[in-house]
């Protein structure tokens, strides 16, 4: 993104102001920011659901503002939203997953292979003939991801995909995303209000009032607890506990997980 701006009609303040960043193929990026900071708008710009008022967005070198590029970009950048019930349309799981590739005009036998493969990748193989409404939230969300994967995108953008899930569902979705990134080298752009989830990314973007105010590794971003709290955010609980132990004179390293902290204390 180069100098990207976006404004919604009727609102005085622009939703996005002067956004500049690049994401490399295969990276796992988390975006954090309070409600209304511009995260969802940014996501929608990536897959041409919205067009920038100013500036340019290039996906694999193709500008989203050029109409000829749009279908190619949409196939390349898949979107997963918060509410799984709004994303599943068919009465059978396999039809839902096939919906995207069918629209791309993929021939029948290949669609079959893509659907089965996508369901395997999200650990939902065997659910082909299930009705989506009988699945748990985590399962539904993984079917939605499979529908995206079946279009063979190079990047998946997820806008708070775990917000409506219980802890088990959240873990299933996070495991799936980590697998797609690590094993299948799919670029992930992951929006979340859960700081623990954000800490799994290679890099975090912090948004505030329509701007990216900080970028860095989870260790770098979560080091500055106070400035995150100033923009209504937080740090993972483990990070805060580690900081509290540091104040007592223990030289705790920059841990991000419960395991990391427990291992340090026990050593």
């Amino acid at each position: 993104m180069k100098g990207v701006e976006y404004e919604y009609k009727g609102l005085t303040e622009p939703a996005l102001k002067n956004i500049n960043f690049s994401v490399n193929a295969g990276e796992f990026i988390s975006i954090i920011g309070s409600n209304g900071s511009g995260k969802s708008t940014l996501a929608k710009l990536l897959n041409v659901l919205l067009l920038p008022a100013r500036g340019e967005i290039l996906v694999n070198g193709l500008s989203t503002s050029n109409e000829e590029n749009r279908s190619k970009i949409r196939q390349n950048v898949g979107m997963v939203f918060q509410n799984p019930d709004n994303q599943l349309v068919a009465t059978m799981v396999e039809d839902d997953v096939a919906f995207g590739p069918e629209n791309l005009g993929i021939p029948g036998p290949e669609i079959r292979a893509r659907v089965d493969n996508a369901l395997k990748m999200v650990d939902m193989d065997g659910f082909q003939r299930y009705s989506p409404h009988k699945l748990s939230g985590g399962q539904k969300q993984r079917v939605a991801i499979a529908g995206i994967i079946a279009m063979e995108p190079s990047c998946v953008v997820l806008d708070e995909p775990t917000a409506m899930l219980d802890p088990r569902g959240r873990k299933e979705v996070m495991d799936t995303i980590s697998y797609l990134n690590r094993e299948k080298k799919i670029t992930i752009i992951y929006i979340t209000h859960f700081m623990e989830e954000a800490s799994l990314a290679d890099k975090i973007f912090v948004m505030h009032r329509g701007q990216i105010i900080n970028t860095g590794t989870p260790e770098q971003i979560f080091k500055d607890i106070r400035s995150l709290k100033e923009v209504n955010l937080d740090v993972p609980l483990v990070v805060e506990l580690a900081e509290s132990l540091r104040k007592e004179g223990f030289s705790v390293p920059g841990v991000m997980s419960i395991d990391g902290l427990v291992n340090y204390i026990c050593s």
Partner: protein, 284 residues
């Protein structure tokens, strides 16, 4: 307000028979803040819909303030006024043109005069931390998600319920919004003495707020105790596939790895930090 559930069973048909609740026996007194915990499908939502009179149990009795709400011809309107229910994503149910009108909807249905209605709208908006003058004439649809959630909760508070039930009220809120909500629930209970039943997957919230934790599994009440008691029972919680508060989880793991005397009934960072420091210094 005193709530009693006696031998409650609830079943419904969805292709096959689903036993949503199995022999629930429970008394809740007015001074309690209940944390209701369990997997999706464990029966939590069924339970709160029963309490609010939205559905009737297949068998059993529910007595609220001396009134058997499962009896024939009971006046459920009075019950629903006493028991405020905040659904998941309550902002999806905002519908009026202004915030004032939306919050006033409930009290007007109680046939209160406009002076009293206005008073209640002012009070409830203040309770949820919104400025009456600034927000009353705005359209609820042009507010941020966090503000919409507060307006929806204010609409329930304006009915002055004795019991407030909330189903995942912090889902989708940013960290600051979650903290504000926790403060609100704390005040409603400990200052305004409202009985609260909170359904949440976030064990941190439950541990910080609840005076009593109820755990449902496959429609059965499997654990019932103080947060200290319930979250100390790591083995049972693991069997049920439920999370512990992260702090408690860390302390349990430390105990497993040789810190035999470390306390596991702690839920705040500062207390946990002190406990760990004490144990580490003792080792040196």
């Amino acid at each position: 307000m005193f709530i009693e559930l006696k031998n409650i069973f609830h079943e419904y048909n969805q292709d096959q028979l689903v036993k949503a609740l199995v022999d629930i026996n429970l008394s809740i007194t007015g001074s309690e803040f209940i944390g209701l915990v369990g997997h999706t499908g464990s029966g939590k939502s069924t339970l709160v819909q029963l309490l609010n009179g939205l559905i009737k149990p297949t068998r059993g009795q529910i007595i609220i303030d001396g009134i058997d709400i499962t009896a024939e011809k009971v006046n459920l309107n009075r019950i629903r006024q006493k028991i405020g229910l905040v659904f998941q994503y309550p902002e999806h149910q905002l519908f009026e043109e202004t915030v004032y009108e939306d919050v006033a909807f409930g009290p007007r249905n109680l046939d209160l005069n406009e002076v009293e209605v206005k008073k209640r709208v002012e009070e409830s908006l203040a309770l949820v931390g919104l400025e009456y003058e600034k927000i009353k004439d705005r359209s609820p649809f042009n507010l941020s998600g966090g503000q919409q959630r507060k307006v929806a909760i204010a609409g329930v508070l304006a009915m002055k319920p004795g019991v407030l039930i909330l189903d995942e009220p912090s889902a989708g809120l940013d960290p600051r919004g979650r903290d504000q909500l926790i403060d609100l629930l704390y005040n409603l209970h400990f200052e305004y003495e409202m009985t609260i039943i909170l359904i949440s997957h976030r064990m941190e919230e439950i541990a910080r707020l609840a005076t009593r934790v109820l755990v449902l599994d496959h429609g059965k009440l499997v654990l019932d105790g103080s947060p200290q008691e319930v979250f100390s029972n790591r083995k049972k919680m693991q069997e049920l596939g439920l999370d512990l508060p992260q702090i408690t989880d860390i302390l349990h793991r430390l105990r497993e790895r040789g810190f035999d005397n470390i306390r596991t009934d702690i839920f705040t960072i500062s207390e946990a930090s002190r406990e760990i420091v004490t144990e580490l210094r003792r080792r040196d």
